[in-house]
Amino acid sequence: MKILVCISQVPDTTAKISFKEGNTVFNTDGVQFIMNPYDEWYALVRALEIKESQGGSVTVINVGPAENETVIRKALAIGADDAIRVNAVSSSALFIAKQIAEVAKAAQYDIVFTGKETINFNRSEVGAMIAEYLDQPYISYATHLDLQGKTATIVREIEGGSETLEVDTPFVISAAKGLAEQRIPNMKGIMTAKKKTLKVVEPIAFDDISFPVRYELPPSKAGVKLLDADNMEELVRLLHEEAKAI
């Protein structure tokens, strides 16, 4: 299997979120960046497991600036064979998908993995876009993936349950929790990662047509109203009359 795993760089889950330049730009001061957890823990690791059991190759791809290479090297340290960085900065999902699809079209992968969403933009769009550009099936929110020859059996999350389906390669899949277990890179992995190929390609021209123009922080809560455990009637009254929740 020839596999491509799309990885994003995102602020650490515990990062303090603030904005600058009139709330138009995310303030990266003091923010630690990590590989998007769904890409790293589930998509990349499942791709590596498939390679280990059936042979083939795992390439990771990132659309981003040179600063992202720390995260890309981490993916190589975890076990990816090589990496591609498309040298561009964009927060447009369609731009990113277009760049990845251009690379994927030329290389003809059997499976393209993404995480189910990034933890910064929470869009869950890029996988479906790549699939459309490649004219391939797209399976979202996969929690289980087995391969028999060219046929994959996939379990995906749906509202209030799950769906089991079969589809033949090539396809695009987005990874959710359960697909694999996180792997920590070991010293040997970290050493060999330095020697692996990280190819930098320039983006193709493509206009951003949908992008964030400004940010704000959610309105802060007025503060918690504490109630006595022996006065649940009062809580119910407040939920009905004040919060209008029941």
């Binding site: 904005f19 769904y38 998908a97 749906i158």
Partner: protein, 319 residues
């Protein structure tokens, strides 16, 4: 034209679909156009969507639509959008909608925004919508510059409203390709509102000590008509099924009421639930971080507090 894709489930429409139709109708009014709803597959009484604001309902019935394949659905929605020259297409931000949104955007080279939670603000050629970003820690305003715009709407963002009368349903004949995806099995818990659509949610964490104590949570949920959920450790240890796990790595929800029992409120948990309109936290530890995100709090032993709350809800309902 505004095109709404109405999902069908067991031949009926979910509340989220009604929300979507009302949303589409309001966007149509803003743009001085009409709201067209597309129903794919068999459905009972699709004409009722007129009540929620649809000016026109189209339906395509074909065996190939009985299996959900995003490629097939995208093709049919895209053809319909071309026929009626839709300027805005709105889908639900559901497992189905998420698989289609990006495809439509790529196909039409159209700007898209996923998981919007407000009506757009439209001024001349400027079209802006809001969504939460950074796992609910911020709100972003997106601008869409293309002529065609594609949105997915988060559940519980707008209440369905009665805006009109039943309309006639017109069957469209569109070629539907065979799906490449073969669905083998669908597992769903029957009779329960799925979490992303639930208005009321009762959730519990490690404070419950073990799965054998889950009864008090279910009783409270039953009394409220709520859906039950759990924190990550509870799902990871197998006390509860994974589809009940709310939080960053689980399901993200935005109910009217979220009652958190014995959950400390780690940042990853909050990321999935802090869009809830009202949050009640029950925890014996007054220092639990969740209290900072709560509207109402009860400091106390959950085994004492929860049955009392259940009783109070019972008394309230019998009044």
């Amino acid at each position: 034209m505004i095109l709404i894709f109405a999902e069908v489930q067991n031949k009926t429409f979910k509340k989220q679909t009604l929300e979507l139709v009302t949303y589409g109708s309001k966007v149509a009014k803003m743009l001085n156009t009409s709201c067209v709803v597309l129903v794919l597959g068999e459905a009972e009484n699709a004409g009722q969507l007129g009540k929620y604001g649809a000016n026109k309902v189209y339906q395509v019935v074909n065996d190939h639509l009985n299996t959900f394949d995003s490629q097939v659905y995208t093709q049919v929605i895209a053809k319909t959008a071309e026929q009626i020259d839709a300027s805005v297409i709105v889908l639900a931000h559901s497992s189905t909608g998420k698989s289609i949104l990006g495809r439509l955007a790529a196909r039409f080279n159209a700007g898209s925004v996923a998981a919007v939670n407000t009506l757009p603000s439209i001024d001349g050629n400027s079209f802006e919508v809001q969504k939460t970003v950074f796992s609910s820690k911020a709100i972003a305003t997106y601008s869409i510059k293309s002529e065609k715009k594609i949105l997915s709407l988060s559940g519980n963002s707008i209440a369905p409203e009665i805006l009109g009368n039943e309309v006639e349903v017109e069957l469209l004949s569109i070629d539907v390709p065979a799906p490449k995806v073969r669905v083998k099995e669908v597992k769903k818990v029957a009779g329960i509102v799925p979490l992303p659509e639930a208005e009321l949610v009762v959730s519990a964490g490690r404070g419950l000590k073990g799965p054998e104590n889950w009864g008090i949570i279910e009783e409270l949920a039953k009394e409220l008509g709520a859906t039950t959920a759990c924190s990550r450790p509870v799902a990871d240890t197998g006390w509860r099924p994974h589809h009940e796990h709310v939080g960053q790595t689980g399901v993200a929800i935005r109910p009217n009421l979220y009652i958190a029992v014995g959950i400390s409120g780690a940042i990853q948990h909050l990321a999935g639930v802090n869009n809830s309109k009202t949050i009640v936290v029950i925890n014996k530890d007054p220092e639990a971080p969740f209290f900072k995100a709560a509207d109402y709090g009860v400091v106390g032993d959950l085994f004492d507090v929860v049955p009392k709350l259940t009783q109070a809800v019972k008394d309230f309902k019998s009044k």
